[in-house]
């Protein structure tokens, strides 16, 4: 696999949050690498309140990691 995660350090909290989203998607993609299947499943969670809350929870967990890595972008 190509290099997609060279570092956990980001310039801003917002970029850190977006990295957390990348980590969450990669967790899915390592489990189901077939992009066609992933594409078909998209409406199943993106149009479901439960699916979206669950997605937001995984992002929140990954954001904890990225934020700690960046010392919470404190000065």
């Amino acid at each position: 696999m190509d290099t997609w995660l060279p570092s956990l350090i980001t310039a801003t909290p917002q970029e850190g949050f977006e990295l957390a989203i990348t980590l969450s998607r990669r967790g899915v993609k390592y489990t189901q690498p077939d992009t066609e299947v992933l594409h078909k499943l998209r409406p199943e969670y993106a149009n479901s309140a439960e699916g979206l809350t669950a997605a937001s929870q995984v992002i929140a967990i990954n954001f904890q990691t990225v934020a700690a890595a960046n010392n919470y972008w404190r000065k």
Copy 2:
């Protein structure tokens, strides 16, 4: 995307809790950017005990991050 997360630092714990809510909603919005769809899904979780508990859990996880970033507003 515009800048919506310039910092994790807040003046008070309560503002930190409200930032945790923002983070939770942004996690949803990055996954489903269509605000019309989000609007339609609202009753699905806001009128469901399970959906509300799940929402509160995501907020709790994000609040851990914000609280740590602010050294728990000690002193």
Copy 3:
């Protein structure tokens, strides 16, 4: 909104646990501010084993934050 979270510091672990309950409920209330709806949903989780376990989990996550803020009330 009025001030409901001036501090995460409490005198005892038990008060800290009760603050964690407050945080968990506020997470719900920010998502669904209509107290009438909340009242109607109460039996849905308070009379369900799954709902009660989920509620206890959110409290546990918030208690991690409050306990860390208080240095675990050591000494």
Copy 4:
């Protein structure tokens, strides 16, 4: 309410684990104080694989807090 949580400090990891169980049960009890209802719900989770795994998860989260409070009972 009476004092049920004077401290997070325990003599051994095992007592810490048992305190984590107490915290998990108290999280349920604060949400549903009616012991008769709780008694009736018991078979619903104690005889369900999903319910038992969920209970074990809440205990695990509370054990993280108790273990940190006790510096993991290192020497």
Copy 5:
């Protein structure tokens, strides 16, 4: 109850992971001490993708605790 958790310290990360499994199972067993019931429930989660993922999640949470206790077995 007999002593089953004298320490969180293990010689290797792998033994730490196995201790996390023990903690996860004990969380179940404290909630449902009847081994016959537990035996009957086994196929319910061990033959279900959802049940196995949930079990792996509880192990992951307990492994966080054990790993921190052992300073991540660094050097």
Copy 6:
């Protein structure tokens, strides 16, 4: 069982993420060692949005542990 986890230290964040995936799969495998059963269950979660999100969540929790062990690969 053979040695599969000699260390939590990895050279890069990406290898750390892949170790988190290994930990997540091992958590499943310790619970259900029969590889034939595991093989049959695969479509159940790999073709389900809910199952994939749950898998990504377990990976995120294990990645927190691996990232902390590696001091977030800072420097």
